[in-house]
Symmetry: C2
Subunit: 169 residues, 2 copies
């Protein structure tokens, strides 16, 4: 299949917001998505952006059945490990279902690794839903290391309410 | 106990490197620490730093038995959730054993939450070794949410070799 990977521009945020919601709807938790197109535009494309984004694109003649040419994305940011140093964090990797199995996800992941290495990063981190076996397999096949299963790391969060409580103490 | 929390300066990196190694030695994996004092200085205190750091400090009269006044740190960076938006990631939180149980960790965590909220973050993420029960309890007691136990997220990594292989494909 003919596709290309490129850095996202602010005009892509509409499509990223669409794919975000597609994924959350597929996972039956659309209410979890509070990020809007406007948030993505502001947070990723102003001075000191919070994230970087890569876009997978097909030419017009291969557009999706709904008419889309932007068919996948990878959202990442630079991070740090106190023990290992400069790292890169893959927050989200998504390919529209009708374009899967054709190397798009692999190409996005490869480009994220290239960006990380170019910036001097020693590690690429991400989380994956363990129940999503095809996704887990995708990463393990490519040399991914499961730090939860193998070392016992749990991924934790304080949501905004809990953050506010922490901040007051 | 008398202590203060402040933003780290480049001169603190020697102490952060020391505490880093103390922790890894305690966990019996000192070889996992490849980050040097110089790395911390360059990665955290040049233009576009990869991390931010808070320091817990005691006055001279309360110095540690080995003579240290810098007795804990929190290393964090800004991150992003494709669904939730601006986030903050706590990479490491450490308090020297002889100063534990006196609110230093709590004060560091509180300050990280404050920094995150001030920057408009909706979530504070981190990982914890599940076997470290006192640490897990510390976070759960304060409203932390275990996204591995409760939702099934696994924390994954590609180490540098695997990144290079990804980048070549």
């Amino acid at each position: 299949m003919d596709f290309s990977i490129r850095a996202a521009i602010v005009e892509d945020c509409k499509d990223v917001a669409r794919m975000n919601l597609d994924l959350a709807t597929y996972e039956k938790v659309p209410e979890q998505v509070t990020v809007t197109q406007k948030d993505l535009e502001q947070d990723g494309f102003s001075k000191n952006p919070f994230f970087q984004c890569l876009i997978a694109e097909v030419p017009q003649q291969h557009k999706s059945k709904d008419g889309y040419t932007l068919i996948g994305f990878a959202l990442y940011f630079y991070s740090y490990s106190a023990w290992r140093g400069k790292s890169i964090y893959l927050e989200d990797l998504y390919v529209m279902p009708e374009f899967r199995g054709q190397g798009v996800g692999k190409a996005l992941l490869s480009k994220v690794a290239q960006q990380g290495l170019a910036a001097g990063c020693h590690m690429l981190n991400f989380t994956v839903l363990h129940a999503n076996q095809s996704s887990v397999d995708f990463y393990l096949r490519r040399g991914g290391f499961d730090m939860t299963s193998d070392v016992g790391y749990h991924f934790m969060a304080f949501e905004e309410d809990a953050m506010q409580q922490l901040a007051r103490t």
